[in-house]
């Protein structure tokens, strides 16, 4: 039976426990692989044979390096995931804002308004508060014009 300990990395900052892939080629030629957890010490405080075997095949410097690279890779993946989610959220917010603007332009008084400048401001609004503020201003203007017209 041949045991190969591959890609070990420290599980703890104290460097007393490893996670490692264990490949075994059995005497009958069959092959098996598994992920193993290897402790440095047994219950009596003695260094385990598995731990010694891992270190024979993998110098401690390479374990340190692999551990650091793995942590860095995970950190980058986490950051990428967070960034992607933020982008999705922002895209969704803008899509919702876009729909809300189109709904605003469907208000009959706004649709019929010739005030292109204010309509452009509604279209270019960066958020729903800004959009609603401009829509309200435009509606107020329209209502004031209507009131003026009626009083004349």
């Amino acid at each position: 039976m041949k045991k190969e300990w591959k890609s070990p990395f420290w599980e703890t900052a104290a460097k007393d426990r490893l996670t490692v892939r264990l490949n075994i080629t059995h005497d009958d030629g069959s092959f098996s692989t598994s992920v193993a957890r290897v402790s440095k010490y047994d219950e009596n405080g003695k260094i385990t044979s598995d731990y010694n075997e891992v270190l024979e095949q993998n110098p401690i410097e390479s374990i340190d390096k692999f551990t650091e690279e793995r942590l860095e890779r995970h950190r980058q993946e986490r950051e990428a995931k967070v960034k992607k989610q933020q982008e999705r959220n922002e895209a969704k917010r803008l899509e919702d804002l876009f729909n809300a603007k189109l709904a605003t332009f469907e208000i009959p008084e706004i649709k019929q308004s010739k005030n292109r400048k204010m309509k452009a401001k509604i279209r270019k609004a960066k958020n729903s508060v800004e959009m609603q503020a401009y829509a309200t201003i435009l509606l107020m203007e329209i209502m004031n014009e209507q009131a003026d017209g009626e009083s004349k």
Binding site: E87, E90, D96, F98, K101, F105, K111, R116, A120, R123
Partner: protein, 259 residues
């Protein structure tokens, strides 16, 4: 060179069929163009039934022309492109919005070419429902069909749009199957970009067409799914997009929301 050639007419084309939200979207496209380019001419192609309905008149106010399409197929857009009233035409999907004054100079981007497109790049493949079917250089949907800048003074360009219209419909019906389609999975045949891909890369009739991609590619069709960063920047080498495409969250069947 005649006078028409020396002073080509310029305008935008938007097409809306199938669902009312596209009419609402098309009006917004038109007004967003006018926000940045006051003298722009924009023609709407939509279902004749909608034109005949007086309730829709309010949507047509800002358009230069409103022209009925022969049918209500999803891709009447190609018919509209072929029948544009302008020599130099910028076709835009009805779910885009103009966001930058550079739209005023868009026709200069033709720069002696017959057509200008946005390239669908490999780095953005994750944003599309389907993109590639192999590892070859052309084994993917290469051109975005959502916008197209073109010069109709070359009669071959009009033929191109008409063929795109018919070839796409025939592809859907299983009647159009050039040998280049043999390696392409059936699911890709639902996209009009596949017909566009065939005509641009493989159709011998259109070998002489001069086409290119926009140099500042995704500025001219920036999908909302590409992301908007907190610091105001954009992704995929895009600075200050001219056209924002709101397609990714749009409810095209109209059953979920306003659009």
């Amino acid at each position: 060179m005649n006078k028409q050639t020396e002073n080509p007419s310029k305008g935008f084309v938007v097409v809306a069929t199938k669902a009312k939200q596209f009419l609402i979207g098309a009006e917004n496209v038109c007004q967003s163009i006018l926000d940045h380019y006051e003298d722009a001419k924009v023609t709407l192609f939509c279902e004749q039934e909608w034109i005949d309905d007086p309730a829709n008149e309010m949507y047509f106010v800002d358009f230069d022309q409103v022209i009925g399409t022969p049918g209500n197929h999803t891709r009447e857009k190609m018919w509209g492109m072929a029948n544009s009233p302008y020599d130099l035409t910028f076709y835009l999907d009805a779910d885009v919005e103009i966001a930058h004054d550079d739209i005023k100079d868009s026709f200069d981007r033709l720069d002696g070419h017959d057509m200008v497109f946005v390239e669908l790049k490999r780095e953005t493949k994750g944003h599309f429902a389907e993109w590639d079917w192999g590892n070859g250089k052309l084994d993917h949907l290469t051109h975005c069909g959502g916008i197209c800048l073109y010069d109709k003074r070359n009669p071959l360009v009009v033929d191109f749009m008409n063929d795109w219209y018919y070839n796409y419909k025939d592809t859907l019906d299983g009647k159009f199957k050039p040998k280049e389609y043999e390696e392409v999975p059936d699911s890709f045949k639902q996209w009009d970009q596949l017909t566009l891909w065939y005509q641009l890369w493989h159709d011998p009739k259109y070998k002489s067409i001069k086409w290119k991609y926009f140099e500042d590619n995704y500025r001219w069709n920036y999908y909302t799914s590409f992301g908007f960063n907190k610091d105001g920047t954009h992704n995929y080498d895009t600075v200050d997009p001219v056209i924002i495409h709101y397609s990714s969250w749009m409810d095209k069947s109209g059953s979920k929301g306003f659009l």
